[in-house]
C-alpha cells in the first residue's frame, strides 16, 4: 500500500510538487529565477517555448499542471504569446489546485514579476504542507518505461528485467505504459499477437508502420551514433531490445500523449504524430518521451541505459536501471539498479525484475531516486499534432 497525496479532484500522487510553468521562451528566465531558490523544496520548472498555439502542447500542459504529483501551479506569461493561458488557468482551477497567472508585461517587468511569483510560491508551499494523505493501491499506480543511451547490453539485461517488473505490476492491476513506436520498428507483427483482440493487433501494426514512414521521411531512424558505438547495428536490433521493456503481458490498448488509461493493464503509447510529417523528429530527446508518459498519468518512470544516461525529470521520479556492467562501475552514483549483474552471472532476470518492483514501491512511498537526490529535473516540450485515438485502440473502454 502506498501513502499518497490526495488531490481535490480525487487523483492520488506520490510526490507533492509545485510547478512553475513558462508559457513561452520569453518567460523562461523569469520563471527560472522564481523557481531557483525553491528547487530543493519540491518546486519544479516546466514550460513550453513556442509563441504559436498548438493543440498538443496545450493538452500536454493541462495534463502536466493537473498531474497527480502536482499540488499547484504558477503560470508565467510574457503577455503577448499565443498560448491560451486563460483556458489552462481555468482547467487547473477547476481541478481544485491553487493556481496563479502572472503576465510579465502587465506586472511591470522582470523584477516585479520575480518578486510577486516568489511570494506566491512561498505562501503556496505552506498551503501544500497540509495536503491530505490517503492509502493508494497498486491498481491506482501508473508506471511508464523508457530507454535512453542504449547499447547492446540494454536489450540483454535492463530492458527484459524491467519487462519482468512490468509483468509483476500488471498482475497486481497496475497500469504500465511502454512507448517509442519508432523503436518498435520490426517488432509490429510479434507485438500484434499480444493484443487483447485482433482489431487492436491491426492497430498496433498500423501505428508502427506510421512511425517507420515518419522516420524514413527524415532519413534517420531512432538510433544514434552512441548506440552504434555501444554495439547496436540496426534499428531492428535496437527495437528487439527496446521491445523487451514491455514484458509478456497482454497489450490492453494504444494511447496517445495525454490519454490516461481508465483501468489497469499494459498500454502502448503512440508518440509519433499523425498526418504528414510537420514539426520535425517525433521526440527530439528522451525527456520529451518522459513528459508524454507523465501526461498519460505515470507517477514514475523506469529508465534503462547502457551507455549511461544521467537524466531525471520534473514532476515524476525516474528509476535508472543500468544495463552495462562497465558503465555501472564508472557511473554508479547515477544508477538505482545494477542490471549488468545478469551478464556477469551474479543475478537472474527474475531477481533483478523483483528488485525493480520492490524499488518502485519504495519510491512510490517517498524514497528518493538517484536522479532526484542529484537534483535532476529535466523537462522538454515541443510542437506535435495528433488525431484522437479511435475505439479500436481502447477495446477495454468499449
Amino acid at each position: 500500500m502506498i501513502n499518497a497525496y490526495l488531490r481535490a479532484d480525487g487523483r492520488k500522487g506520490i510526490r507533492n510538487t509545485l510547478v512553475v510553468a513558462y508559457l513561452v521562451e520569453c518567460a523562461h528566465h523569469v520563471s527560472r529565477e522564481i523557481y531557483h531558490p525553491f528547487r530543493d523544496k519540491g518546486v519544479h520548472l516546466i514550460g513550453f517555448p513556442g509563441c504559436f498555439p498548438n493543440v498538443y502542447s496545450h493538452k500536454m500542459m493541462e495534463r502536466l499542471c493537473t498531474h497527480p504529483n502536482v499540488g499547484g501551479a504558477l503560470l508565467v506569461s510574457l503577455g503577448c504569446e499565443g498560448f491560451n493561458k486563460g483556458k489552462l488557468q481555468e482547467t487547473i482551477r477547476k481541478s481544485g489546485r491553487p493556481v496563479k497567472l502572472l503576465e510579465i508585461q502587465g506586472t511591470g517587468g522582470t523584477r516585479k514579476t520575480i518578486a510577486e511569483g516568489s511570494a506566491w510560491i512561498e505562501q503556496t508551499l505552506k498551503q501544500l504542507e497540509d495536503t491530505p494523505r490517503t492509502a493508494m493501491g497498486l491498481d491506482e499506480l501508473i508506471v511508464g518505461t523508457i530507454c535512453g543511451g542504449s547499447d547492446a547490453t540494454s536489450g540483454l539485461t535492463a530492458n527484459p528485467a524491467m519487462g519482468r517488473a512490468f509483468d509483476f505490476l500488471v498482475e497486481k492491476d497496475a497500469t504500465c505504459i511502454f512507448e517509442e513506436t519508432g523503436e518498435l520498428i520490426g517488432m509490429e507483427h510479434w507485438m500484434a499477437r499480444r493484443a487483447e483482440n485482433p482489431v487492436l493487433g491491426e492497430e498496433i501494426v498500423k501505428t508502427v508502420a506510421k512511425a517507420a514512414k515518419y522516420y524514413a521521411t527524415y532519413g534517420h531512424a531512432s538510433i544514434g551514433p552512441g548506440n552504434a558505438d555501444g554495439g547496436l547495428t540496426t534499428i531492428e536490433e535496437k527495437s528487439l531490445g527496446a521491445y523487451a521493456k514491455s514484458g509478456q503481458s497482454v497489450i490492453s490498448g494504444i494511447i496517445k500523449p495525454g490519454d490516461v488509461p481508465i483501468k489497469g493493464g499494459l498500454y502502448l503509447l503512440d508518440v509519433v504524430p499523425d498526418g504528414e510529417p510537420l514539426f520535425g523528429f517525433p521526440n527530439i530527446s528522451d525527456n520529451a518521451e518522459i513528459a508524454e508518459l507523465m501526461a498519460c498519468g505515470s507517477h514514475l518512470s523506469l529508465f534503462s541505459t547502457g551507455r549511461g544516461s544521467v537524466v531525471g525529470s520534473a514532476i515524476a521520479p525516474v528509476i535508472k536501471v543500468c544495463a552495462n556492467p562497465e558503465t555501472y562501475k564508472r557511473m554508479s552514483d547515477d544508477m538505482d539498479v545494477d542490471a549488468g549483474r545478469i551478464l556477469e552471472g551474479r543475478a537472474t532476470l527474475d531477481e533483478v525484475g523483483r528488485e525493480i518492483y520492490d524499488l518502485i514501491l519504495r519510491v512510490a512511498n517517498g524514497e528518493q531516486t538517484r536522479s532526484e537526490a542529484l537534483g535532476h529535473q529535466e523537462f522538454i516540450l515541443t510542437y506535435k499534432s495528433f488525431e484522437p485515438i479511435g475505439p479500436a485502440c481502447f477495446p477495454s473502454a468499449a
Binding site: 547490453t153 524514413a216 531512424a221 538510433i223 540496426t234 531492428e236 536490433e237
Partner: protein
C-alpha cells in the same frame, strides 16, 4: 541447445547466426560457440556481436530469433558483425563519421 558454447559467449536463440560477448574479449581469444571452434579476429566489447559460422553477403542476420538486418559482405567465423558488414532492412544507421572505424585488425 545441445552444442557447447563458451560461458563468456551468449547465443540468444537456436537459429541465431550472431554470437554475443558477455564481457570484453581480446582479439585472438579462442572460443567454442555452438560446438564450433572460433578465434576472435578483433576485440569484442561487452554486448557486441561476432560471427561463429560463415555468413554470405545478402543473408539475413538473426538475433533473438528475429531478423535484425542483411549482411553487406561475406562474413567469416570470428569476424565482428556491425555497421561495416550489416545494414538495416528499414532505415540506415547514422554515425558521426563515415570513416569511423569500429574495429581495427588485431586491436
Amino acid at each position: 541447445m545441445t552444442a557447447t558454447t563458451d560461458p563468456r559467449v551468449l547465443i540468444l536463440a537456436p537459429d541465431d547466426n550472431v554470437a554475443i560477448a558477455k564481457s570484453d574479449l581480446a582479439a585472438g581469444t579462442p572460443l567454442t560457440v555452438m560446438g564450433r571452434p572460433v578465434t576472435l579476429k578483433a576485440k569484442a566489447l561487452v554486448g557486441h556481436k561476432f560471427a561463429f559460422k560463415p555468413v554470405k553477403k545478402g543473408e539475413t542476420i538473426v538475433k533473438y530469433g528475429a531478423p535484425i538486418g542483411i549482411a553487406t559482405a561475406d562474413i567469416a567465423p570470428g569476424d565482428p558483425m556491425h555497421i561495416h558488414n550489416v545494414t538495416s532492412d528499414y532505415i540506415p544507421t547514422y554515425t558521426l563519421d563515415e570513416g569511423h572505424q569500429f574495429f581495427k585488425e588485431g586491436h
